[in-house]
Every structure is written in structure tokens, then in C-alpha cells.
Amino acid sequence: MTELLKRPLTQLVNLESPLSLSQYISEGGYQGASKALHEYSPKQVLDLVSNSGLKGRGGAGFPTGMKWGCVPMFADNDDKAPEFKYLVANADEMEPGTFKDRYLLEGVPHQLVESMIIGSYTMAANRGYIFLRGEYHLAAKRLQQAIDEAYQHNWLGKNIQGTQFSFDLYVHTSAGRYICGEETALINALEGRRAIPRAKPPFPQMSGLFGKPTVVNNVETLSNLPHILKHGAAWFKALSPDSDSGTKIYAACGRVKTPGLWELPMGTTIREILYQHAGGMADGLKLRGLLPGGASTDFLLPEHLDTPMDFDSIAKAGSRLGTGGLIVLDDKSCPVAMVLNLIKFFAQESCGWCTPCRDGTPWAVEVLTRIENGRGRKEDLDSLHNLCDFMWLGKTHCALAPGAVEPLKSALRYFLDDFEQHIDHGCCSYKQSTNQQTKLKGHCHG
């Protein structure tokens, strides 16, 4: 397999100067879209994507073909669009420790445009939006350039490439809230409302944006489409023969030697990502634990290093693959302070709609702040456990609060000693060891 075929998503990435439409075409771009439009019916594309085993790369890992299959038109094998439909690319990448979509958006914007043509053709969508987080200014500029070029060369607009298919694509930049990444909150944001998640059902595929059938897919998920069209489902599966299909853009951040991101076969082990690609821990530091896929995943420990980074294996180890971005905790950083930082994020970004999340996340911040500052009480640990229970799945309006619980609950399990020492000694020993704070009590020595 050539290098291009092994790293399909990132092979054409150029962060300095992304490929123009003609350059992208000369590197094989728009062949996937062309094949879909000229050689396949929408139903055939859907079947191909279903057979490829592609799962959503935004965090939940839901099979893409199944998500699309819920759009009404496929119930009766009708290849004609029965009514107005929307396809939305979720480019609201705000999960802390995650920067993979930015890389694709800034580095190869035409790939996403091509992907959205294929996706919209498959579900007969008339209009698409790229829901981009507001802070990604460079990505916004480059996507708009790519869209303008695509319109000029009839890859967007009416009767694309001489076919019956027409599709309009727009960039919407968000005004910034993490909850916009939740697909129904994103839809509310696109409608100009506060980004509060909607109750499901109805699912967006039935009634989404402006009440019309809508599919929301992550940027990385969509970006696989041109390659699946070009090379087929068997090729896609063969990229990761022992795991879920395809490649995954993995990343590592924290105090590792060479933080970054790498497109690797789905199911690459944590050890390979951390030690081979990220170069291991920075000098003088030891691995304490890590979040495998962004802020809203459970901690894993050094004993989990040989776990393959795919949906099922990480779930078996007690966490979630999430976005595939490792956030690495070293032995000189305080686990309590790290969890406090994470929960502060969730407390700030809670939309405030449901009580467990609106009240529970700031409450956890208050308790954790007390512990971290050496004013913790023994019963605080019980409070934290209770909060984890109050905010768990089934008790909240959406997955934000349960996501906040994941690092907290697992930290209480794996780093309990640290929590207890903070409370018993009335201080954080890590602060003393890094000389960041004024002198603390004698009990604490790093």
C-alpha cells in the first residue's frame, strides 16, 4: 500500500499554503465526488459507507451509515429528494486537548468540501453548513476560499458537474460555546438560538434544522468519504484489519517530548502513540495517567498502555475513545488540580438548562477548589462521589455533565491517595515541589 493510501486524511495537508482547487484535483481530489455523482445512486453510496464500517470520529463512535440510513428517503429506496434536507459538518472543535479537525480544516479545506458534496448527494441534501468554532479564524478564511473556488468550477451550486444534483454550502462561524458540539445544541445555534440541546426524539435525521431532516457529522468522519468512494470499503477496512475500520487522527498533549498529531491505523496502542510518536514523557517526568480522548473521558493508567485505541478496546479498559487526543498527566503535576481545571471548564460551559449540570458542576468546582487549596474536609470525598452519581447518564438533559463526571470519578478511583493527602495535610504537595506558591506546611514535600 502506498503512503497515500495509508494516510488518506492527512496526506495532502499543507498548513502553510493549502492546495488550491486545481492543485487538489491534480493530486486526485474530487475523484471521489465525481465517482459518486456519475457512477453511483445515493443508495449505493449509502451502502458503500455502511459496508466500510465507518464510525463517527467526533466522540460517540456511532456508525455513519446507520446515522444516514435514518434519513426518511431511504425507507422506501427512493433516490429522489422528497423535501428539503440539510447536511451539517460539525467543526465546532472545542473538546479540550483536541486539535485534529483544525489540522484538516486549515491544511486541506477542499477535502471537507468534497466530502460534503458526497454526503449531501447520499442523503439528497439541498443545503449544507460548516459549523465552525469562532476562534478558528484561519480555517474560516481558507474554507471560504475553497467554497468560492468550488462554486466557480461548478463543484457547488446548481447541476453540479452536469448532473441533476444541486447543493449549496456555507460556513457558519460560532460565537463560542462548548455545548454547540452537541448536535441538537448545534442545530439550535444555527437557528440563531441559545445552544441548548433538544430532547430526542425526534432525532435530527427526522426533524432537525428548521424542522427539516438534518445530518450532523464530525469533520474527520466526513473527510473519509472521498477516500472510501475512490478505494472502496474493503480497502478502508484493511487499513486497520484488527480493529474498527480506517485510520484515526491521534494526538498527544501535556508534558510529553513531542506533542502533536498523527494519522495511524485505528486501534494503534496507546504505548505506540505516546512513546513512538510523542517521544515519551518530557525529561525528568514519569507517566502518571492519561485521558485517552479529550477532557470528557475517564483516566487510564500506565497499566493500560497496551490497549488499542479503538472504540471497543478503550471502553473495555473503562474509558472512551472520544476524540483520540491523549491528555497526559505526569508525576510532577497535581491530579487534583488537573481535575479541578477540567471541571471548571464544564461548569463554565454548562448551558444551564438542567439542574444536575447547572448546579452540580459548580458545586464540584467548589469542593475541588477547597481540597486543592488545603481546606478540604473528610466528607468532601463523599460529596464528590454523590455529585458523580447526581450528574450521571439518565439524570441530565444531555451528555455534558456525564462527560464531566468521567475524569472526576476515575480520578477519585485512581488518585484517591492524592485527594486524601490534600485533605489530611491541608495543602497540595505539588505546589511546593514546583515552587509556584509560597511556603506550605512541612507535611507537604514533593
Binding site: 486537548g97 479564524h137 460560532s174 460565537a175 437557528e191 441559545r194 434544522l209 463554565q348
Partner: protein
């Protein structure tokens, strides 16, 4: 509290005719956003951002004018404006510093950068320098985790920050007349 406090004459309502307040450029930009949406109010967020782009922030009067243009209740638009992190409902300085305070930056030196900016500019989060040059705000993860710590000033991202280079960046900005220099 006396009951007559709540009578109608004590409630002041403000409406602003957008035609007397918004420029033709602003109206045209907002109408373009309306044209790619199903409803007028769907363009609300983009409208707030357009006004902020032109005027630096969204004043009460701006908000009333946008509500008038989009034919939606002022309170609803205020609900939207205050929900989103990147809409400024108070006047801000020439440069708005958004320092990332999320986990990757937390692990790689955020605290030092925060202390450096705070003491260099003499302001804390939510404040603006007396000369109106800088406003200091936090930001959730900026997606620069591989080159943390990071911050965004205006539309520009700065990565791999150190206490030394962050002071240089701010000093350079302080010399600029506008963000586009």
C-alpha cells in the same frame, strides 16, 4: 415595595429604528446572512458578530437595532448575546487577549503566563487597561494543545508562550495603531 412601582409608566421600554442606527454596510452584511437562513432571527448570532466587527462590541443600542432589523424581541436577542462567549456586551480595548485556561495549557505553564500578563498590564480577567489598549479574558481550549500554552489576540493565535515572549508580543501590540497594522 409599593404596588404602583410596577405600573406601566415606570417601565421604560426602548426600541431603536435600525435605519437610524445601523450603517448600510452593516445592514447589507446582515441581510446576506438572512438570505442563507430560513428565518430572520436565525441570522442573529452572525448579526451580533458583524456589529461587533464594525464597532468593537455590542452596546444596548446596537442590540435593539439588530432586534428591530431581524424583527425579533430584544429580550430574546439579549438571551442569545449573553449566552455566547465571543460576543462582548461591554466595551473592550483595542486588543482583546483571550488566554487559554484549559487543560493542556494548565499542564504546560498557563499559571506563569497568566501571572505575567496580569502583572505586565496591571489588569485581571474582565478588565481593560486605562489607555484602552488591552482587555484581558480567558478562553476555553483554543486547539493549540501541541504548542501550549496559547492565546488569541483579536484574530491572531499565539502559541508556545513563555513569560518572556508573551511580554514581547504585548509590547509589540501596544505600539500598533490598529489590529490590522
Amino acid at each position: 415595595m409599593k404596588s404602583d412601582v410596577l405600573s406601566m409608566e415606570n417601565i421604560s421600554t426602548v426600541t431603536i429604528d435600525y435605519r437610524q442606527y445601523l450603517s448600510t454596510t452593516e445592514v447589507a452584511a446582515i441581510e446576506h446572512e438572512v438570505s442563507i437562513m430560513e428565518t430572520r432571527e436565525a441570522a442573529g448570532i452572525e448579526a451580533l458578530k458583524i456589529i461587533q466587527e464594525h464597532r468593537g462590541w455590542v452596546s444596548d443600542d446596537s442590540l435593539y437595532a439588530i432586534a428591530d432589523l431581524l424583527n425579533m424581541p430584544e429580550a430574546e436577542l439579549e438571551g442569545v448575546a449573553t449566552f455566547y462567549n465571543l460576543i462582548y456586551r461591554q466595551a473592550v480595548g483595542q486588543f482583546v487577549i483571550h488566554l487559554c485556561d484549559s487543560v493542556a495549557c494548565h499542564l504546560t505553564g498557563y499559571e506563569e503566563i497568566y501571572q505575567t500578563i496580569k502583572s505586565y498590564l496591571g489588569i485581571d480577567y474582565g478588565q481593560t487597561t486605562i489607555d484602552g489598549k488591552f482587555t484581558f479574558l480567558t478562553n476555553v481550549c483554543l486547539g493549540g494543545c501541541d504548542k501550549a500554552p496559547s492565546m488569541m489576540v483579536g484574530k491572531q493565535h499565539y502559541q508556545s508562550l513563555t513569560p518572556e515572549n508573551v511580554v514581547e508580543i504585548l509590547a509589540d501590540l501596544a505600539k500598533q495603531e490598529s489590529e490590522n497594522d
